[in-house]
Symmetry: C2
Subunit: 559 residues, 2 copies
């Protein structure tokens, strides 16, 4: 009866999950999900907060939805598991990033206050908010001129979706919100604040999204921010809640009385410093050392490789010391193809495919996978470039777009579906080879996230294309599982947890016994197709033929 | 009551049409269609003639279906019009080509004889039959070695779909059929034989499909055929019903007693020499002189330009003296995109589009046209190469395939639909510019066929892309209308017809008053997109990057 558990909380794009995990062996005991009432807010503020349409490329959230996860999913998972609060030795959280919100000095989000409720810039700006592109452009310009070190770490491109792009957007578009806010904070840090009663900013979000370099003394100098905008001269002193940043896995403090009341858990229970959701998943896949690529595959794919040293690698957008697994540098490479691309395709399938799927009680994706899986490598006749949402790794160019080549009047829907999967796998191989060329070996891969469970064909083809084994995480909720492991580290060894994330992983993280092995004959055919992919990758992606930019320019000016 | 009429018969891919036209002004009085019972036979011989599956790429027809057009559509149109047989002064026919059949000396098709009925090679091989590619390859090889003049006229490529490719296929695959046949004949000549009781081979099919060069003494020498296959040494003497070829518009003879019995028309009524269907449509569009491009647009688009002289033009597959309008050289350029490409796309539209089309009582094509038409040039963001069925003009390469570039997760179905239409229009411009560069001016265009009536957006975009006016033929059945005009010429002036096809056209052919004018602003944007199209056209089409061939090779070896 004194079995010890940890609780992992994963705040993802549309819902939050509470997962209860046994500390000794990582067994997942129970899980509960709460779907955000307001979801992703892209057109109009909810609940009468505003009547005007939001500007294009806005993606907001309501922080009340996050609190509702604490209020509903946590008690629900405890009830399902039949576990008593005193048996929970630690809590860990992970969150989408960069997801920014302006708050009062006590942590109250501005958008929950009546006087700010109708101002969109007072709300949570989700990771997928893309309206700050002009601000990102300016940041990149100024950073280039000043040769800021952080720009090198982000491989020359600070993204529109990241912390300071959104913050600069607020300064420029809603200076009154900037003035009113006491702090701007990542949601991954804000949620910890709600639990422990004070802020402990994490080095995962700060390192990957907010220019914070551990080995270079933290954030850029004040004059960089001043050069961006005069109002930002005192940003570092006044609006970031101090300059301290805490290492993931550290104990952020015990659950406050208020946090205990919210969740029904025991006051004082250790809570870990927050972490970016995809990064939490990495140790949950057992990836704690160099050589094994972790693929966190959902709508998009986040590839993480650990290394003992830092290198400049072409087109890898993030490399942070201790940001994913302490003691290593974590390289992050984003691939925009994945579930989003396959979903785009399956949304518009013809009636007879929908009917057959219904009749056979399959999802249309599963039916397409089945048909595409009956084809041999090369048989679909179609080759794709997987840049439907731009290229975020190697080329790092959001203005690129996708291609399908080899279409004939005999091309069927499942031919194209297979080509999209193959293009995704070619994109994976490109990333693997980029690491390999930089001297970081990749022996094999572990996949986690929703996509690997939905799409076995994708994993087999990734294995065939790369010629490497692909493992799958035992957990279906790797991010929440990883967050729970952080909770075990925050609890520490004496409380029954683990001294390090590596120790936690050795006991709590598992991969499935079955894995995907490359077929030699398929690999050889894919070598030929990959050579074609690479040629087109460089032709369209490296400026030999800048037609994709021309198309985007003409589209923009026509709209 | 002595108004004079001519009857045009158009044998197309799935049906035959009888059209009754007033001689004086070309008014279409009545029309009747008979759908072929067996349609296009691609999988198994019909009516228990055979149980085995046909080989791949077979496309056969049953000549009984053609006779049924004579028996049913002709009496039907006469009855509808209330016109007496003696008021029909002439009959003209046109037919798909090259559509080949082996016959007995009296014209009986071998496949209608019990002993040959189960042999697929005894049946009519339709224009779309593509199984004779190896034979076409051999013809091209031998012709190249011997520097045969005809190869130059066909721009270096004799097609798998043409007369002697199919004939060589029979020699090689079914020598017993070759031996048993007294003649091999184009269906356009066979149908005239059924009407007049003797064969009169036409210079349209012979010139465009069967190596017959009027200015070089007709067919190639016997030793060319011998070099193809020993059995073909005596082909010219023994299997073509003599070497005479007759000019289109000429009188093939009066309707025989048997022909009169079949159709209910009057014995002795003049019947014109046959002609290829697309070629019959040209004068029916009023195109009888150089400078105006005729687009016969159905599943594919046949472009015809007339000229006073012959020139070697890159990538134009046919140039025949007097083969379309006597007194001119007719240049034919085939474009494989058209209705087939748009149809391929619309076949697989999602449910909600089908439902909306149903609700609004539109075809899905019309609904897509409406949505695509709401976009401005460049706005769809997608650029295509229109080679879904290969490229038959300029590049003349059936192994090319299509491309879509610029796809994003925000790309909608109507964006792609517009890109397919634009790609088709870019293909048209490429053909126009090919003629222009060779010194053959194109002032404007006239379109006819099913596509222009179904898709007004296509014509507007062709006008915007080329910067030239696009007219539309008054007749919805231009091929049948043109066939009727041939009937009027066969009847001759003394019988109330016309002395020449030009005279017939001046009285009987009309274009609509409304036409499509290029919009200057659209044309300027399309100039930019066309420059991109041309660059990709050469990159993928001229061997800079032969990836399309590689995809085809890998697909073939995987199957």
């Amino acid at each position: 009866m004194n079995t010890k558990y940890v609780l992992g909380l994963d705040f993802s794009t549309l819902s939050g999950r509470a997962l209860l995990v046994r500390v000794a062996d990582g067994k997942e005991v129970a899980s509960a999900v709460h779907h955000y009432a307001s979801g992703v807010i892209t057109h109009r503020l909810p609940n009468g907060a505003g009547t005007a349409n939001l500007p294009p490329n806005f993606a907001l959230q309501d922080p009340k939805d996050y609190l509702d996860v604490l209020k509903t999913a946590v008690p629900a998972v405890m009830q399902r598991a039949g576990v008593r609060p005193e048996n929970i030795i630690g809590i860990g959280t992970c969150f989408t990033a960069s997801t920014l919100l302006p708050v009062e000095s006590d942590g109250t989000p501005l958008c929950l206050m009546p006087q700010w409720r109708s101002n969109p810039h007072a709300w949570v700006k989700l990771w997928s908010h893309r309206a700050a592109q002009p601000q990102a452009d300016r940041i990149n310009e100024v950073a280039r001129q000043r040769q800021e070190e952080f720009l090198k770490r982000y491989n020359g491109r600070y993204s529109a979706g990241w912390f300071f792009s959104k913050l600069l957007e607020i300064v420029e578009k809603a200076p009154e919100v900037y003035d009113a806010a006491d702090e701007f904070i990542e949601a991954s840090d804000w949620i910890v604040w709600q639990l422990v009663g004070h802020s402990r900013r994490n080095n995962s979000a700060a390192g990957y999204k907010a220019m914070w370099l551990k080995d270079k003394g933290g954030y850029p100098q004040f004059d960089f921010f001043k050069a961006l905008h005069p109002k930002l001269e005192h940003l570092l002193d006044e609006k970031l809640g101090g300059l301290e940043v805490y290492e993931i896995g550290a104990n952020a403090g015990g659950l406050s009385r208020k946090g205990a009341a919210l969740t029904g858990l025991k006051e004082g229970t250790p809570v870990a410093v927050g972490i970016v959701d995809a990064h939490a998943a990495v140790p949950a896949c057992g990836v704690i050392e160099p050589g094994r690529l972790c693929m966190v595959a959902g709508p998009r794919i986040c590839h993480v490789l650990l290394a003992k040293e830092r290198r400049d690698i072409e087109g890898v957008g993030g490399c942070v010391e201790d940001g994913i697994v302490p003691g290593t540098w974590g390289y992050e490479a984003g691939q925009t193809s994945g579930g989003e691309l396959l979903g785009w395709f399956c949304e518009a399938l013809p009636t007879e495919i929908r009917l057959e799927a219904e009749r056979r009680r399959l999802t249309v994706q599963r039916l397409m996978e089945e048909r595409a899986g009956a084809l041999k490598p090369g048989q679909c006749g179609v080759l794709g470039l997987d840049w439907w949402s731009g290229n975020h790794c190697v080329l790092m160019d959001p203005n690129l777009s996708g291609m399908l080549l080899g279409l004939t009047t005999k091309t069927e829907r499942h031919d194209i579906y297979r080509a999209l999967i193959e293009a995704t796998a070619f994109g994976v191989r490109k990333i693997v080879e980029t690491f390999t060329k930089a001297g970081l070996e990749v022996h094999d891969m572990v996949a986690c996230g929703g996509l690997p469970e939905q799409n076995k064909l994708l994993l087999q083809i990734i294995s065939d294309v790369t010629g490497k084994p692909v493992h799958v995480a035992e957990s279906s909720h790797a991010a929440a599982h990883g967050a729970a492991m952080h909770g075990a580290v925050a609890a520490g060894k004496t409380a029954g947890g683990y001294p390090t994330l590596q120790d936690a992983a050795r006991h709590m993280a598992h991969v499935r016994a079955d894995y995907y092995r490359p077929h030699k004959a398929s690999h050889e055919i894919y070598n030929q197709l990959y050579a074609e992919y690479e040629k087109l990758h460089d032709y369209f992606g490296r400026g030999v033929n800048p037609v994709l930019k021309t198309l985007k320019r003409l589209k923009t000016s026509a709209a």
